[in-house]
């Protein structure tokens, strides 16, 4: 077997050194009744060719977003990732290293995480960022728990424009941690006012910008309302590229910022692995979950990096830790860091503007179709349409034309009949004029 270096003679020699006659003798502590003497009922060893054939056959049954005009968003966005990124993250020193517990031989990982933390701070306009969490949804739940620790209050208010998965993960966590979560009514129009839900028992208000439905909002007033009552404002985002074009949460008064970083460096991957981002104000850093990398010097006075403030973490603080997180999204953070480094200031802001322009041009054309109505007054690269027919039917009909025409909002709000006609549509830099033609013509035929 190609992954197992020991040969039969090695095994025999080693057994002799150990002083037992067979490997079975090394399993003596296992009760006999549960010890298997033959392999379980699954296929036997297979070569690379066979495995590649089987998995490729499964891949061919799918219609990938690179194989069809695709306008899917909803918290996962296909962007062009420069070739160098995927090449570099596959260097074995990055790909096959562990968490940097031995800093002397992990400076590569530690330095890129320090760069990553700096980049995330810059994008969000916040003081400090951690070295990643699992994804946007879990980061949101972590932010709510963090706000509860900071404020010593046990209630969170969630905006009706928050991604339904971010909401559900937070609700699931809240149920078991025994704190209250109040979810505002679904905010399709982007006009909600959360003031009435905020009181002096509220730990935090969580609002997404751009919202799940695409609205871009000025949160300055909400931040003031929160701060007057000692409430933290948590701002979430599902599309990190938006931060190249819109005012960052930090500039609008956010206390904690969380979001999904998949768009930079990472493929859509049918939903994972993704990259949870988290940033906060300096004064809350000791309540932050996740790893942090800090700058220091070695015994020769040379600059270097280490994991720091580790007493917040589970391996030291156990049940008193700020979170149970251990393995996070290291390699996804590297891909993010590399992609953003490739882009730089000029490239990143241009990327954001192209995204917005593509979405805006697409809206111009879609609005001309009878049976299509734009819900949004503002958006970045994603917006909500109200159709004259149920969106699921429309999307299914578009699939027949090999077009991935958006996300029926009802998929994320099952059982809510008001959502039936709503379609969430995203456009990024990868969408060509031909893609847009296909969608526009397809919709004309279907509606």
């Amino acid at each position: 077997m190609r992954y197992l270096p020991l040969g039969q003679s090695d095994r025999e020699e080693m057994l002799k050194d150990i002083g037992v006659s067979s490997v079975d003798d090394l399993f003596v502590d296992v009760p006999k009744s549960v010890l298997l003497d033959t392999p379980v009922d699954l296929p036997k060893t297979a070569g690379e060719m066979q495995v590649e054939r089987s998995i490729s056959a499964m891949a061919r049954k799918n219609l990938g977003t690179s194989q069809a005009p695709s306008f899917l968003g909803g918290g996962a966005y296909r962007h062009h990732v420069p070739a160098a990124v995927d090449h570099l993250i596959q260097r074995g020193e990055f790909l096959t290293s562990y968490t940097p517990y031995q800093p002397e031989v992990s400076q590569g990982t530690l330095q890129y995480l320090f760069e990553f933390q700096t980049q995330v701070s810059m994008l969000t306009g916040m003081d400090v960022a951690n070295a990643s969490l699992y994804d946007g949804a879990t980061a949101t739940a972590e932010a709510v728990m963090m706000a509860a620790r900071v404020t010593k209050r046990k209630k969170a208010v969630l905006s009706g424009g928050l991604h339904p998965h971010y909401r559900d993960v937070t609700l699931t966590q809240a149920r078991f941690m025994d704190f209250a979560v109040e979810s505002a009514d679904v905010d399709v129009e982007g006009k909600e006012d959360l003031t009435a839900l905020i009181d002096d028992k509220t730990a935090c208000v969580v609002v997404q910008n751009p919202s799940f439905f695409g609205h871009v909002k000025d949160l300055t007033g909400l931040a003031e309302t929160c701060h007057e009552k000692g409430v933290l404002l948590v701002v979430a985002f599902g599309e990190v590229v938006s931060l190249g074009a819109i005012t960052p949460p930090g500039a609008m008064g956010a206390d904690i910022v969380v979001g999904e970083g998949q768009s930079l460096g990472n493929a859509v991957n049918y939903g994972g692995p993704y990259l949870g981002l988290m940033a906060c104000r300096q004064k809350f850093v000791r309540q932050m979950p996740g790893r942090l990398v800090g700058e220091t010097t070695d015994v020769e006075g040379r600059r270097g990096w280490v994991l720091t403030l580790s007493t917040r973490e589970q391996h030291i603080r156990r049940e008193k830790a700020t979170s149970n997180i251990c393995t996070n999204s290291g390699l996804c953070a590297l891909a993010f860091n590399m992609h953003l480094t490739m882009l730089g200031e000029v490239g990143f802001t241009k990327l954001a503007k192209i995204n917005h322009a593509h979405a805006s041009l697409l809206v111009d054309r879609l609005e001309e179709i009878s049976g299509v109505e734009l819900v949004n007054e503002s958006f970045f690269n994603e917006f909500t349409l109200r159709l004259s027919k149920p969106a699921t039917e429309v999307v299914d009909a578009l699939v027949e034309k090999e077009i991935l025409g958006g996300i029926p909002v009802s998929r994320l709000y099952p059982g809510d009949s008001d959502m039936a006609d709503l379609l969430l549509v995203a456009a990024t830099e990868v969408n060509t004029v031909e893609d847009m033609d296909a969608l526009v013509n397809g919709l004309k035929e279907v509606l």
Binding site: S310, T311, I316, R317
Partner: protein
């Protein structure tokens, strides 16, 4: 701080002068912790029962709680520790004090060890 200093089995010390007590961790405790990097102190006005978690002290690889050796109300926290936690290492029994409190029940002191007893106690630990 002469004769009125008392110690707990968790290596806190308390020095009482009138109805005011000063609380810290022992020299033995700071040695066990190593370089202290952070302390979290109680807020003034916090009312503590004997044995309540009053403060947290952290080194790079460990975090320990300081449990109040006696009951009372916190009257002052040692703000100097926030900027200079190393005071705990350099002067555990002096400038490295954690907080002062107004004592509610001095009889609780009788349950604690004096310096000689404490010395004997830590010798028994190694």
């Amino acid at each position: 701080m002469m004769a009125t200093v008392r110690f707990t089995k968790d290596h806190e010390w308390v020095s009482v002068d009138g109805d005011t007590a000063t609380v810290g961790v022992s020299d033995y405790a700071q040695q066990q912790l190593g370089d202290v990097v952070f302390v979290e102190l109680p807020e003034t006005g916090t009312s503590l029962n004997k044995g309540d978690e009053a403060a947290v002290v952290e080194s790079v690889k460990a975090a320990s709680e300081l449990y109040s050796p006696i009951s009372g109300e916190v009257s002052e926290a040692n703000g100097a520790l926030e900027d200079e936690p190393s005071l705990i290492n350099s002067s555990a029994m002096g400038n490295g004090w954690f907080y002062k409190m107004t004592v509610s029940n001095t009889a609780e002191l009788d349950e604690l060890m004096d310096e000689t007893a404490y010395k004997g106690y830590i010798e028994g630990l190694d």
